[in-house]
Amino acid sequence: MKVPSIWAVLVLATLLSISAPVNANNGNDEFNWNVTIELGYIYNPTLIVGGEQSSFDDYTSVNVWLDLYYKGFFIQSNRYRTSGTFGATELGYELHLDEDFELNIINKNYLAGFDQRNVGLVVDTYIEELEGIKARNFVPSQGIRYIRYLDESVYWVDVAVDLVAGRHRGWVVDTFYTKTTEYRNVDLSFGAGLTVFSADMTNYYFGVDQDEARVNRPFYEPGVGYRAELEAVMRYPLSQDWLFTAGATLSHYSNSISDSSLVARNNVFRFKLSVSYVF
């Protein structure tokens, strides 16, 4: 999806900041929503080959985040939004909620889709290494999420399977722990996570079928794989409406994934500086 120019977004954000009623928590316990426009710089070397950042647009992060809650149903925009796709929006339903933990039904993409012209950057381009491959779609998985709240920290476990789309029928177990420390008006969050992907899932995204194989792209079946992540994020309120965010994520992928000729690296370090307008 093409993203409008940075200047258009700046003008839009400025106009909105002037005209929009400001209320970060829009609604009540039964219904509430939150929209955030984020603009920033992103260093984002893609996992998949052929996605090196080069143009100004590649380093520009423009996102519109939507969070919506209605009587237990929720939409959370979360990962993989730098390409502007809506494919990664989390849909869910709260089965149980109390002070200590949550139990949700979740529908979420755990790996980003790509094709021979787009591996996650803003602008589509010709990628020689991926010529002729089939598109890997954003395939949502459906499952259960358990969230445990502790003092200033939270961890969760997702167990999900591609039940609806049936593209790969693989399963995924996604765990993450994050602890937030307050220092004056700043939030500092440190997180660590581990995601295990079934062979069916890694084969769909990182495998090379016989009909895709070339001289420099051999047939490959990855098998079970994992991703381990470390993350650090700083958030600072610039005003009642604007938030500054700085953060970095280091993702390490297992050899079964990084050995694929579709994969450029086994360690992906991403960094982001952004300002967000919070409605």
Binding site: N23, A24, N25, W65, D67, Y69, Q76, S77, N78, R79, Y80, R81, T82, Y149, V154, F176, T178, T180, E182, R184, N185, V186, D187, S189, G191, E231, V233, R235, Y236, P237, L238, S239, Q240, D241, W242, L243, T245, G247, A248, T249, R270, K272, V278
Partner: protein, 137 residues
């Protein structure tokens, strides 16, 4: 210059009484707080800011800066026409400050407030942080 000795109280009171004709009135004293807003990330969280409070007066005064909410004397000046104070704000609610004459019962209703200012506390996110996005990417 700061002074807080009770030993000087009688002398101060004498000076106060003898100079009452020249003392500042509410309209004579101006107070400016910069910044006068503090933004926290979430509602209910303590907000931190270093606030520069300055005041000017047409006449020399024995003046004290007080925290009206906590009934606290923050700083006093003697025979000054202006003053400046750095206030370390750490509060989850608005802070009301005032300049009053330096007398024994500074915070009594008999002692008029020469100037007041409010340090407003606001926030970006209302309510719980639980539903906030946890991940950077």
């Amino acid at each position: 210059m700061y002074f807080n000795s009770k030993g000087f109280a009688a002398a101060v009171l004498f000076v106060s009484m003898s100079t009452q004709a020249q003392q500042a009135t509410e309209s004579d004293v101006e107070m400016i707080a910069q910044p006068n807003k503090c933004v926290a990330l979430t509602q209910g969280r303590r907000c931190y800011a270093q606030v520069s409070i300055s005041w000017t007066s047409n006449s020399e005064n024995d003046i004290c800066l007080v925290d009206l909410d906590n009934q606290l004397e923050l700083y006093c000046w003697r025979s000054k026409t202006q003053g400046r104070y750095l206030y370390e704000m750490a509060s989850s609610t608005d802070i009301n400050l005032a300049l009053v004459r330096k007398i024994d019962a500074m915070l009594s209703s008999d002692n008029p407030q020469l100037a007041t200012t409010t340090l407003k506390v606001s926030w970006l996110y209302e309510g719980s942080t639980r539903k906030r996005r946890w991940r950077l990417f």
